[in-house]
């Protein structure tokens, strides 16, 4: 598959999965909070395009896109949202805690900023064992307010760890704009001051993100190049949590969204493909999605006894 085809398949798949989640949500089959990435897909897709299957990724409660882009199992994800025993966390995690160890998709946490040091610690292990792997660490602009962000970057810089930090800057933490939280909205400068080279990509172009991420990742693999910081500007189309829109709330104008909606990366990349290739991709994805929702639908809920398992990992 060409890079464009690969990227389009990812973009389309994530967009459509989330649209389906939004569509079924009002029927209450998903009885837990969902934070959709609609509009932001190209960031995760571009970043993961630079990764190898054996690389690791850490995300947030808004990680449907990252999970899928990194190769997480779709059936297990939808089943997890439905709270089913076949979910990626057996129904014990939910949308905010997606995990797929086989795909290298680790920890997604509901507490902002908390997985940043996990990525750094994982990278420490990778470097100690001299493995030619990298770790992708994705978080929002809100996370860059938190102290743990600085502590983690400082340590990654000090130990020259193979971490690709990626800030998905959609300008908002819930309903609060970055300018109401940071005097200087220069997140790259913060990373640079700690000794981490950094760069901002303004338009969420997945090819540009992939290219920059690949260069950074390949440079740090197995060596001493140390971490890199990418700030990817993007925009959340839906409400902070839930399936709807929220322009009526008044904290932002629809006009702010419009350039992003017009510049939609899913449509842009679609336009790069020959129509038949595009159709083939879309058809396959639609079938996969239908299968995943059907799988989730018919999977059983966990047994009551499952309440008590997994608190501790029992000795083998």
């Amino acid at each position: 598959m060409s890079e464009a085809a690969r990227i389009y398949r990812q973009l389309y798949r994530i967009r459509r999965v989330e649209e389906e989640v939004a569509r079924v949500y009002p029927t209450d089959v998903i009885k837990s909070p969902v934070h959709l990435s609609i509009g932001q897909e190209s960031v995760s897709v571009g970043l993961c395009e630079a990764l190898r299957p054996e690389d690791a990724a850490f995300g947030t409660y808004r990680s449907h896109a990252l999970y899928l882009a990194k190769g997480g199992n779709l059936r297990a994800m939808i089943a997890e949202l439905y709270g089913k025993a076949t979910g990626c966390a057996k129904g014990k995690g939910g949308s905010m805690h997606l995990v797929d160890v086989a795909a290298g998709m680790f920890g997604a946490s509901a507490v902002v900023g908390t997985t940043i040091p996990h990525a750094v610690g994982y990278a420490y292990a990778v470097k100690l064992r001299r493995e030619p792997r990298v770790v992708l660490c994705v978080f929002g602009d809100g996370a860059t307010d938190e102290g743990v962000f600085y502590e983690s970057l400082n340590f990654a810089a000090l130990k020259r760890l193979p971490v690709l930090f990626a800030c998905e800057n959609n300008r908002y933490a819930i309903h609060t704009h970055q300018r109401l939280r940071q005097h200087l909205p220069e997140i790259c400068a913060r990373a640079a001051a700690l000794g981490i080279p950094s760069e901002r990509i303004e338009d969420a172009d997945p090819f540009a993100i992939a290219a920059r991420a690949r260069a950074a990742a390949d440079a740090m693999r197995g060596g001493d190049a140390g971490p890199f910081f990418l700030e990817c500007m993007t925009y959340r189309w839906k409400e902070h949590v839930g399936p709807g829109e929220d322009y009526a709330l008044g904290y932002r104008e629809r006009s702010e969204a419009e350039p992003w909606i017009h510049g939609d990366q899913v449509a842009k990349v679609a336009a790069q493909l020959p129509p038949d290739e595009r159709a083939r991709i879309e058809e396959a994805v639609e079938a996969e999605i239908a299968d995943a929702f059907a799988f989730a639908e018919k999977s059983p809920f966990p047994d009551d006894a499952e309440l008590w398992t997994d608190v501790f990992r029992e000795a083998p």
Binding site: D28, S32, G94, M96, S109, E146, R181, L249, E306, V311
Partner: protein, 349 residues
């Protein structure tokens, strides 16, 4: 004169509003206090009325912003710091425990730290591992902090006013499911101070102590128990620190049986404290039987079936209380009754 009615949300909002009117040193801040959702309405209208100097949203920085509240208090302000989840207070433990609780003592009484920290406990709709914890026993553990857990609109307002006027750090524990609850809500400002638990239903067979939202379950359990001829006395501690051990013990001295139902884990929790304090107090006077109920000793799962098992409910509380009264495992579990079901919470959050 007919009493005014209002919700728990109204109580919280009105308390802060009236105190801010009365005392220009009161300020209110926290993530999202000034956003369109206004912390489920509890901070609605404050910024319009008092301006952005006294009411403001903050960066995501639980640790520093707690320290900022302490610094404000040292300068004579009375900050109310709001958190949408109690779980996030785990980021603020250093400032709360190492500083707020200790400043008066370790500076020999020369300073005081009159801060109020509001935080919400989530439940149901798959809040899951990190949005469901009731961690107030952490604050009860440390000398120097006060802890209120009001369960109705009247006390929400009264505790909040008392907390703001208190010269010490006060933690306000607010359960999300209580927010829509309605009840009498006097308009003029008043305080519900620490010191006195409240008896909500009288009975001679067993004492049910319910903490935060667990009180609502205890009140429903009391009705299930009445159906089978067990008379339960239901007690609302209101304040967890200082705790009215005498008030609870007085009831248990009568019933001889104590069920403490917590909205948190039992191990080293509020229920452990209440059980052992009451038993220490009554030993030698009265033989007491005791049972602690709380979160299952697991992490909170979001999937609905397991989530329901995770929490004590009116029915499981009633069953445990009856077993204690009869001194045996009766196997009884009351049937659901339409008038004893919690209003369901529906998402997204």
């Amino acid at each position: 004169m007919s009493e005014r009615d209002g919700s728990y949300v109204d109580g919280l909002r009105e308390a802060v509003l009236q105190e801010m009117e009365r005392d220009p040193s009161v300020v209110c801040f926290g993530l999202d206090v000034d956003d369109p959702k206004a912390i489920q309405g509890t901070t609605r209208g404050l910024v319009e009325k008092f301006g952005q100097g006294r009411v403001f949203g903050t960066p995501l920085a639980e640790d520093a912003m707690t320290g900022v509240a302490i610094g404000m208090a040292l300068a004579g302000l009375r900050p109310v710091h709001v958190h949408i989840r109690m779980d996030f207070l785990l980021l603020a433990m250093n400032q709360l425990v190492n500083i707020a609780a200790k400043s008066s003592y370790m500076y020999g009484g020369s300073v005081s730290v009159p801060i109020v920290v509001r935080s919400m406990i989530g439940k149901s709709w798959g809040q899951g591992a990190q949005h469901s914890q009731g961690l107030y026993s952490y604050f009860m553990h440390v000398p120097g902090l006060k802890v209120a857990a009001p369960t109705n609109p009247h006390d929400a307002k009264g505790c909040m006013i008392a907390a703001i006027r208190d010269d010490n750090p006060v933690m306000m524990v607010e359960h999300r499911l209580l927010y829509p609850h309605r009840g009498p809500l006097p308009e003029a400002p008043y305080e519900v101070r620490p010191g006195r638990a409240r008896v909500l239903a009288q009975g001679g067979d067993v004492t049910l102590v319910g903490i935060s939202h667990a009180l609502a379950e205890c009140l429903r359990a009391q009705r299930h128990l009445a159906d089978v001829g067990v008379a339960a006395e239901v007690i609302d501690p209101i304040w967890l620190a200082p705790l009215d051990v005498d008030g609870i013990a007085a009831s248990v001295a009568k019933t001889g049986r104590l069920v403490v139902v917590d909205n948190g884990w039992t191990t080293c929790g509020a229920s452990a404290e209440i059980a052992s304090a009451v038993l220490e107090k009554l030993q030698g006077q009265r033989d007491v039987r005791v049972r602690r109920l709380g979160f299952a000793n697991t992490t909170c799962p979001p999937t609905p079936g397991l989530e329901a098992l995770f929490y004590p409910s009116a029915r499981t509380i009633a069953a445990a209380a009856r077993d204690l009264v009869e001194g045996r495992a009766t196997g009884w579990l009351p049937a659901e009754r339409a008038d004893a079901v919690e209003i369901e919470f529906r998402g997204p959050f």
